[in-house]
Amino acid sequence: MRDSGINVLFLGKNFLRLLEGLGVTLRISLIAVLLSLPLGILLGMFMTLKNPVSKAISRIYLEFIRIMPQLVLLFIAYFGVTRMFGWNLSADVSAVIVFTLWGTAEMGDLVRGALISIPRHQYDSAAALGMTKVQTFIHVVVPQTMRRLIPLTINLTTRMIKTTSLVVLIGMTEVLKVGKQIIDANRFEYPTAALWIYGVIFLLYFLACWPISMLAKKLEKRWR
């Protein structure tokens, strides 16, 4: 058993280091999600305006963010911005900015979809009851939109957690990077370490995302 890869986990602080790496992943994802939610809601409302200028602006933003691979956006934020403006953004900040931009675009589109899925007669019947546009929005549109949005938002959160593994490439030490370091350091003593370490990382991602998915399912059921 001495050379079984699993022992690598218990060498020194290896497991703790992996958890710290996961912490970096989760921290960036959660900050980005928390910023994306309000910004995305505003963007989604902005997108439903019937003004051609606002439509064009939001369309361009959305398409740009979606077409550009997140990796390219990361490089632009981390390397490009420094070159162009001389701002020295840390990897942390660049990652949060990029993932917030991305999350806002995705969230905005989800909010837009949820808003336009509220049937016309819901607005009519609220209006017929003498409710103002603002009252209709607060008491009729938003609660129904929320119920549609929450599962989608949670899905976006898990996607965010998985996508942030890209930050390795701008030099951040998150969970995958730590794993790779551990594997490299023990390459000769424990040749099978890769399997075990990546297995554990898989499990860590699963443990981070699964409760979130379960929560989504539960909410969906309750609000059906």
């Binding site: 007669h121 019947s125 609220a126 009851l129 003498g130 103002t132 009729v140 609660p143």
Partner: protein, 254 residues
Amino acid sequence: MEERIQLKVKGLVKRFGSETVLDGIDLDVHKGEVVVVLGPSGCGKSTLLRCMNGLESLSEGNIFLDGEEVSSSGKKITMLRQKIGMVFQSYDLFPHKNIMDNITLAPVKVQKRPKKDVESQAEKLLKRVGLWEKRKSYPRELSGGQKQRVAIIRALCMNPEVMLFDEVTAALDPEMVREVLDVMLELADGGMTMVIVTHEMQFARAIADRVIFLDGGNIVEDLPPEEFFTAPKTQRAKDFLQTFAYEKRRTDTN
């Protein structure tokens, strides 16, 4: 009907693009009067009702409630809509609120009435239509007829002066129609001013004080129900009524 005019439509024209849906409608509805609007589909019945409630803007003309003009924009319209209840064809309850909350939402938020008062009013009305046990249910748990009765109560709890009914039974299963129409008959007996668009001819005959026949964007007939159904003046109204007379033709061919 010596009562005062409650709802007045004057020279109403409504166009959607280049299409004229209503072409100069004049109509006075007196207090306590029940006006049934009939006409072939697409003749503008629903549009007329929606204009009366300011849900559609008018291309020309005016609508007055108690002498006050209804216009589709501005703050005044929300004030006026509180006096004009409207029930639609589609079950339009708010799906995220239970029955009681559906009913109390607008009186509490719009009219700023104490929730207790509204609830006791709702209790009386719900008991009268036999839906008190459903007060905590959600709309999806109710049948179409039940939802429509709740929608009527929801409108009534605003204490409106006029009620507009836009084909409220058109989407219902036949056996659900009766329970909704009974509620409306009871309302009419209670002296509510009502404008009703319907395809239920028997019901129209039973409830109406006046029948308005709309065709091509104009009021073609304006008669008491007995007269309209037995001796309509125009050919168009005769043709329209003929489309409902199934039994007679059947016996003829036998």
